[in-house]
């Protein structure tokens, strides 16, 4: 066996062992520090807690005199196409929204961040920035606020507000 083969077998074995360890939450924080390129995959698809909710982003504005607008839906992704088993680009935007919301939920529980530190985090700013640009500002609106709505069901939908942001300046 050549030196290159021995080296590659060792690297591949190490890769598989670290991948196995990375599936356990105890090792994830350590491994994530060295996993900037996502070389170590996570294979826990839809488990242990599968996504059983759809996420929606909504926005409302506050005028200078304190009146509030109605909540407006922020369009993030269109419905799944009929041929999604062949072509489904919409899943990217939906996954980005889901990932950002999951990150916000984790950060809210994090002692170092919590509700006071959340407005300075990237997932929060990402949703805030997107919503502010996706929905044109009402004339004379001074501030805006976003909320995350969770839903389940296809025809009869159950809705629940799971997060409400602070008000932020429109300009």
């Amino acid at each position: 066996m050549s030196l290159v083969s021995i080296l590659l077998y060792s690297v591949v074995t190490l890769w598989l062992v670290v991948t196995l360890l990375a599936q356990n939450s105890r090792f994830q924080s350590v491994i994530n520090r060295f996993n900037g390129l996502h070389i170590i995959p996570r294979w826990t698809f839809f488990a242990p807690n599968p996504g059983v909710r759809d996420y929606h982003l909504v926005i409302r504005e506050r005028y200078r005199d304190g009146r509030l607008t109605d909540w407006k839906s922020v369009a993030v992704y269109p419905p799944r196409p009929k041929l999604a088993y062949l072509w489904n680009p919409q899943k990217r935007a939906s996954k980005i929204l889901t990932d950002a919301i999951q990150a916000i939920k984790l950060l809210l529980k994090h002692d170092d961040v919590g509700p006071s530190g959340l407005p300075f985090t990237v997932p929060y700013l990402l949703l805030l920035h997107y919503a502010a640009h996706a929905v044109p500002a009402e004339p004379d609106a001074a501030e805006f606020q976003i909320a995350i709505i969770e839903s389940t069901g296809h025809l009869e939908r159950e809705l629940e507000c799971s997060f409400l942001s602070s008000f932020h300046s429109r300009w």
Binding site: S2, V4, S5, L8, Y9, V12, W15, L16, T19, L20, Q23, G36, L37, H38, I39, P41, R42, W43, T44, F45, F46, A47, P48, N49, P50, G51, V52, R53, D54, Y55, V76, P79, R80, A84, Y85, L86, W87, N88, P89, K91, R92, A93, S94, K95, I96, L97, D99, A100, A103, V122, P123, L125, L126, H129, Y130, H133, T152, G153, H154, L155
Partner: protein
């Protein structure tokens, strides 16, 4: 014996690289349909994502490296590499093309941060494996090529086993509610499947346990007689087609099917080592 082994690995490479090419072309085309996400008002705007910690690229060039034009260039490279991999025999282009796809995987995962899924992870694994196998064939080094087969089959076994093990510790999977819960979403669900499942809790429990059981037993494919192993892999392929149809997980099909030739070679190696052949 060695020549026979190299021929098997060459056939494995041919099937694997074709399926890798299918995934690379599909994923790049779907990202092209999502280019608006990378614009200044998009969900993946660099104006915000540049604020995250531990960026590897120096500040002075970061803006250029992660600009929308750079994303387009990377995706064009992935498409070109995917097209070249479709050449229907092991070719000298296989190594650079698979490395290019691997680098594009690294780039997209760094640039997007959010929105990646299991198909991207397995695509990366396959690209790495194809690169190693191609290098082994180019250098006429069977052990080197076999380490690529080991990488792909090892990650495939881990992927299925871990997916099953993570489900078996979950109460919602064990009681069958996971299936109905997922089917009731618009993101990954299916309205007809949801209404069918809603009235049949026993069926939901059966499907959940079938998924858990088969995923956890996947490593046994390495020990099974070749006919049984092929039949099992056909069932897993059907599972991925069903996921694509009911859940819209279309991009998972190609990279996961791409692991199967390597799994069959690993099956042959393990059975040979056990003295069963």
């Amino acid at each position: 014996m060695v020549t026979e082994g190299m021929a098997d690995i060459a056939l494995c490479l041919l099937i694997t690289k074709t399926l890798l090419a299918a995934w690379a072309l599909l994923s790049a085309a779907e990202w092209f349909a999502n280019l608006h996400l990378f614009r200044s008002d998009g969900l993946l705007t660099w104006n915000i994502l540049r604020l995250r910690p531990r960026l590897l690229i120096p500040v002075s060039v970061r803006h250029h490296v992660y600009a929308e034009s750079a994303v387009i260039a990377v995706l064009v490279c992935r498409i070109a590499a995917g097209l070249l991999l479709l050449i229907p025999y092991p070719s000298p282009a296989d190594l650079p093309c698979s490395l290019l796809i691997l680098l594009s995987c690294f780039y997209m995962s760094r640039r997007t941060w959010f929105g990646g899924d299991g198909s991207d992870q397995m695509g990366m694994v396959i690209a790495a494996g194809v690169a190693i196998i191609s290098a082994g064939l180019a250098l006429d080094d069977m052990n080197l090529a076999a380490s690529g087969v080991f990488a792909i089959s090892g990650q495939a076994v881990l992927a299925y086993f871990v997916a099953g093990a993570a489900k078996v510790v979950s109460p919602v999977w064990r009681d069958g509610n996971a299936l109905l819960g997922v089917m009731k979403t618009r993101t990954y669900g299916h309205s007809l499947a949801a209404s069918f499942a809603a009235e049949r809790p026993a069926f939901c429990k059966f499907v959940c346990w079938l998924t858990i059981g088969t995923e956890m037993l996947f490593p046994l494919v390495l020990l099974a007689p070749p006919g049984v192993a092929i039949a099992s892999l056909c069932c897993f392929a059907l599972f991925h087609f069903a996921n694509a149809y009911f859940m819209g997980l279309n991009a998972f099909v190609w990279p996961f099917l791409a692991t199967y030739p390597a799994v069959m070679l690993a099956n042959s190696a393990v059975r040979n080592w056990m003295g069963w052949i």
